[in-house]
């Protein structure tokens, strides 16, 4: 691994980063736009607005962990960069972990940077059911996808970064008659360290922390790091400022007040955004409703060959062939030893024995486009509470998806498959054994789901009774208040959402910069 002289998150313009942990006095300032959240949505919007000549302040709750400080320890990474130290869960019949980044760059720092354009069938659905056709269609989004792919070097995983686990997956999918491909990711010079989840150590992954955030700062934007936004202040029906709290030097809270002359853009994620809007006085009946996600379940396989589960791009191969039929996406996933240890079944001597074949292990995942909807609200103590139950139909598809993945593993040459499902043998030794998965109950408590893709809690639409923002991303209730993250997506996608989130945000910010604060279909 060759470290460059300086990573893009170093040598930032003087005074462009204001750290809440070092604040000694209350801070107040005025900008054209204040953007809440520095993840995929916030960073892109800030960059577009700064490039248009506007003054921009970004506010981020988490710290800025620099590339040079990314370590291998998953435990450290969870503590520093993940919301609730990686323990946030959705509540329902089963507790499903919800993994979110909480640092400059948001989840883009800890995901695999997978780029999928919004599927056309999804856009058609949004047009038909939510009236977004004229505002949010493929034609409107195309220039933004083009620009993002150019800026962030979206490309298929290279030969050098394609791991053995990915080659095995491509072989298994082929044997099963499924179309599969190398994942398209935002990266420049990925060396396949398999460390996307704890922060890319070479800045090859084009997370927002090494791309749009530093680029926005270079254009004059300022970022306030380590400040939690309490509310957007609304006066006369218009968003006028943002009030936040920093921990302050010595642990004493320091207030931050940022006045917004032209608008406030909320990009705090589908979990945090609805509660921030509630704290700001919004009362839309759709707020916090219609939460959707993509629960995922990983299985492990043991091969003759040394696959080195963590070698290669973290997620180097995928299949979306079944997205519109079974509603699942299949993909590889490199797990660092700590995370693999969780997925390896059993405890005691059985677990130790299984550790012995770690280098022959690979993990693949099934990601479900769940049709069920949940809610986000504020629980006791102001905690964000997500409630979600996959439907019975979702669970039946999940069972079929995992069974398919297990069969693919055997077809790719696995000696054993460890499905990690309650009530199913811990070790499957033949493709015939997969029938145990077919026969398992369609019950979320039998799975070890994890969810990372979150949508819909401030959804977009024409009707203020059923949606929170209009097609111009502006709140139906408050002028000058825009929501630009995946909260506004009326439905989930069935593919990784980062590209769509960035394109939607870029579209919103471009329209704002052009002065088109109300969408005009004729324009």
């Amino acid at each position: 691994m060759t470290a460059p002289a300086a990573f893009p998150d170093e040598s930032l313009p003087e005074g462009s980063v204001v750290d809440g942990a070092r604040a000694t006095t209350p801070i107040e300032g005025a900008y054209d736009y204040v953007v809440v959240g520095s993840g995929a949505a916030g960073a892109v919007a800030a960059h577009v607005l700064a490039a248009s000549g506007a003054t921009v302040a970004l506010v981020e709750e988490g710290p800025w962990i620099k590339t040079r400080d990314f370590g291998e320890s998953v435990s450290e990474a969870f503590g520093r960069m993940f919301r609730d130290a990686g323990t946030q869960v959705m509540e329902g019949r089963a507790y499903i972990p919800v993994i979110q980044g909480r640092c400059v760059g948001g989840s883009t720092v800890v995901n695999s940077a997978i780029a999928h354009r919004t599927p056309e069938d999804v856009l058609a659905d949004w047009a038909a059911r939510f009236g977004l056709g004229a505002a949010i269609d493929a034609r409107a989004l195309e220039p933004h996808f083009d620009a993002l792919e150019r800026d962030l070097h979206a490309s298929p995983v290279s030969d050098a970064a394609l791991g053995s686990k990915d080659r095995a997956f491509l072989g298994g999918a082929d044997a099963h008659g499924l179309g599969a491909r190398r994942t398209h990711r935002y990266e420049q010079g990925c060396e396949g360290s398999g460390r996307c989840f704890t922060g890319c150590p070479t800045a090859a992954k084009q997370g927002m922390n090494v791309s749009y955030v530093p680029w926005a700062l270079a254009l004059g934007a300022r970022i306030f790091v380590g400040w939690r936004v309490d509310q957007v202040v609304v006066r006369g029906g218009r968003a006028v400022s943002v009030v936040a709290r920093g921990q302050g030097e010595g642990g004493s809270p320091r207030p931050l007040t940022l006045h917004a002359r032209r608008g406030v853009l909320v990009a705090a994620s589908a979990v945090q955004t609805p509660n921030l809007l509630r704290r700001s006085g919004l009362r839309s009946p759709a707020l916090g409703q219609h939460f959707q996600c993509h629960p995922g379940s990983a299985i492990a396989g043991v091969f003759d060959d040394e696959l080195q589960a963590r070698a290669g791009a973290t997620q180097g191969a995928e299949s979306t062939s079944l997205r519109q039929t079974l509603g699942v996406k299949l993909e590889t996933i490199a797990l660092q030893p700590e995370l693999a240890a969780v997925r390896i079944p059993g405890v005691g001597r059985a677990l130790m024995h299984r550790f012995g074949v770690y280098s022959h292990l690979t993990t693949w995942a099934m990601v479900l486009r769940a049709a069920a909807e949940g809610t986000v609200d504020a629980a006791w103590g102001g905690r964000d509470r997500v409630r979600f139950n996959p439907s019975s139909s979702d669970m039946q598809r999940a069972v079929r998806g995992v069974a398919l993945l297990a069969r693919m593993m055997f077809e790719a040459g696995a000696r054993e498959v460890w499905p990690g499902l309650y009530g199913v043998p811990a070790t499957l030794r033949s493709i015939d054994d997969v029938r145990a998965i077919d026969a398992m109950p369609a019950d979320p408590r039998h799975f070890s789901f994890i969810s990372t893709h979150l949508f819909g809690t401030a959804r977009m639409g024409l009707d203020p009774r059923t949606s929170v923002v209009g097609p111009d991303f502006q709140s139906h209730e408050v002028r000058g208040l825009y929501v630009v993250d995946s909260s506004v997506f009326p439905t989930n996608l069935g593919v990784n959402p980062q590209h769509s989130i960035m394109a939607m945000s870029r579209l919103a910010a471009t329209r704002l910069a052009a002065g088109r604060t109300r969408f005009n279909a004729a324009a």
């Binding site: 043991v302 001597r349 677990l351 024995h353 770690y358 905690r383």
Partner: protein, 143 residues
């Protein structure tokens, strides 16, 4: 929130049974690591509810000999083979809340155990062939 000395002893016993180490595989046990220090750090870092969940998991493991083995004692007083039998039963429990909390405990143990430099080095080193499971069938679709 922090664990008391006896809760640390219970947690150490449960995690020691989950990650006992193996001479055959060349892995040390988690008992050789600073389990109490790691848990102290976790309890400080975790939000209240997660810390409460971790504490509940420790108590379930501690008192499980009574409802799983019919023995009025704690996990820390069991001999190692019984501790292992106990955690195997707990992680397969029919009660979702029990198995999910014990899985949570295993997760924290895994963060410490597999994060250890010597364990990490062993796991990521090329595996000796004898470590492989025996082949039980011909590869499907291949001759």
């Amino acid at each position: 929130m922090k664990l008391s000395a006896f809760e640390n002893a219970w947690a150490g016993a449960a995690l020691g049974a989950m990650f006992p180490g193996s001479g055959d595989v060349g892995l040390c046990g988690i008992a050789a690591m600073d389990v109490a220090g790691f848990l102290r750090q976790m309890m400080q870092r975790l939000p209240f509810r997660a810390a409460l969940g971790l504490r509940a998991a420790v108590w379930i493991a501690a008192l499980a000999p009574l409802f799983e083995l019919g023995r009025a004692t704690t996990i820390a007083r069991l001999k190692p083979s019984d501790r292992e039998r106990l955690v195997v039963l707990l992680i397969k429990s029919r009660l979702y809340v029990v198995r999910s909390l014990i899985t949570m405990l295993k997760t924290f143990g895994a963060l410490l155990y597999a994060g250890d430099a010597s364990v990490r080095a062993r796991l990521t080193a090329p595996s000796p062939r004898h470590g492989l499971v025996p082949l039980r069938l011909k590869r499907a679709g291949r001759t």
